[in-house]
């Protein structure tokens, strides 16, 4: 395809009329959110502004980036908070959990009924000898533009037996980012 993550960000921003995104600070970025109430279905990032670190790192902006900030999602990982305080966590793979999820940006579902399978990506993923709880997005990734709400609807299930599992759950979105940079004196 020959397009870098930075090029895709600028291309999408241009199509959306975000003319100043190209002047912002390039960065590596990740956002995560976790819900420590045990449930079969979780809607992550929605309402995250009501949660505090270390349950999430999205801060007061919640599930949208502020003006001229964006994230090109290149990897999505799922984890299980160990306790209600959310400080420590383990991988979903440790409990043989897989996760079926949708990623919604604005009014549009951009990843639909995908699964992050326990131990998937064996040929591509390297984290010690441990099975992966991360899925790499194909292509260059998916851009979450500024000021557009995003969320992940996730359902955990047992990978081998394919039955629903109620659990605490967390999710991170990792990739190339843009941070607000005033290129003028204000």
């Amino acid at each position: 395809m020959g397009m870098s993550a930075q090029q895709k960000m600028l291309h999408v921003a241009d199509r959306l009329g975000l003319t100043t995104l190209k002047d912002m600070q390039g960065s590596t970025r990740m956002v995560y959110d976790s819900i420590t109430t045990v449930a079969a279905t979780h809607t992550l990032f929605k309402g995250a502004s009501q949660r505090a670190f270390p349950l999430t790192n999205v801060g007061a902006n919640g599930n949208q980036f502020q003006v001229d900030e964006a994230l090109l999602v290149e990897k999505i990982g799922f984890f299980v908070p160990t306790l209600v305080d959310g400080i420590a966590y383990t991988s979903t793979a440790g409990g043989a959990l897989s996760v079926k999820f949708d990623l919604v940006i604005g009014n549009k579902t951009v990843i639909k009924d995908a699964t992050c399978e326990v131990g998937g990506e064996q040929a591509f993923f390297n984290d010690g000898t441990v099975a992966s709880s991360v899925i790499d997005l194909e292509g260059v990734g998916i851009l979450i533009p500024p000021q557009v709400e995003y969320y992940v609807v996730a359902k955990a299930f047992d990978g081998p037996s394919r039955v629903s599992v109620s659990t605490r759950l967390g999710c991170y979105l990792f990739g190339t980012g843009a941070l607000l940079n005033f290129n003028t004196t204000i």
Binding site: S27, N57, G86, T92, N126, D127, T129, S132, S133
Partner: protein, 179 residues
């Protein structure tokens, strides 16, 4: 996409740094001593009383003809109890600008199948992690920079050491002339 060499040259030229300098691989680091239970630490702001292995800087800026591109960030903690595997929050500021914002590096600690990336399988640690950046960050000459790390847990004991290391491509002073 600009490579590290051309990006550094581009940013330096935009800032009016004209000297060519010696191209090199640059590693800078700073270590802080912990306070029991304290969860917030600042790096590259205080160099007093540190030995050469705790920091290789004397001020929180690079020299006038020196600059670097941060390609990866390593964090090492001496504590066995307050490890880096629990959630944490890393911010890096160059000048007045936040260049890495609210980043949780803990997913690259330990081996839980959650790492962003890892080049080899042999080593993993809850107290020693490295993070490769997807976008290179430039530290220009004579511009203040700092890093802050907020730990999710309050288990840290007094006297433990936390070290942050920036690695990448850089330029060091070369007069290009005999004095």
């Amino acid at each position: 996409m600009a490579n590290q060499v051309s990006k550094l040259a581009y940013v330096d030229s935009k800032l009016g740094v004209g000297l060519p300098g010696q191209q090199t691989t640059r590693v800078i680091y700073d270590s802080v001593n912990s306070v029991a239970g304290q969860q917030f630490y600042e790096f590259f702001t205080n160099f007093a009383g540190k030995n050469e292995f705790q920091t290789n800087l004397t001020t929180n800026k690079l020299d006038s003809a020196e600059s670097m591109v941060i390609k990866s960030i390593q964090i090492i903690m001496s504590s066995a109890t307050s490890n880096l595997a629990d959630h944490s929050n890393l911010n890096i500021t160059v000048g007045n600008q936040v260049v890495v914002k609210d980043f949780d590096p803990s997913f690259n600690a330990s081996n839980r199948g959650l790492a962003f990336d890892r080049l080899h399988s042999g080593f993993n640690s809850a107290n020693n992690l490295e993070l490769r950046l997807l976008t290179d960050i430039v530290i220009p000459p004579q511009v203040n920079f700092k890093a802050t790390l907020q730990l999710g847990n309050a288990l840290i004991a007094a006297g433990d050491d936390i070290t942050i290391i920036f690695k990448g491509y850089g330029r060091i002073f070369s007069a290009g002339n005999s004095f």
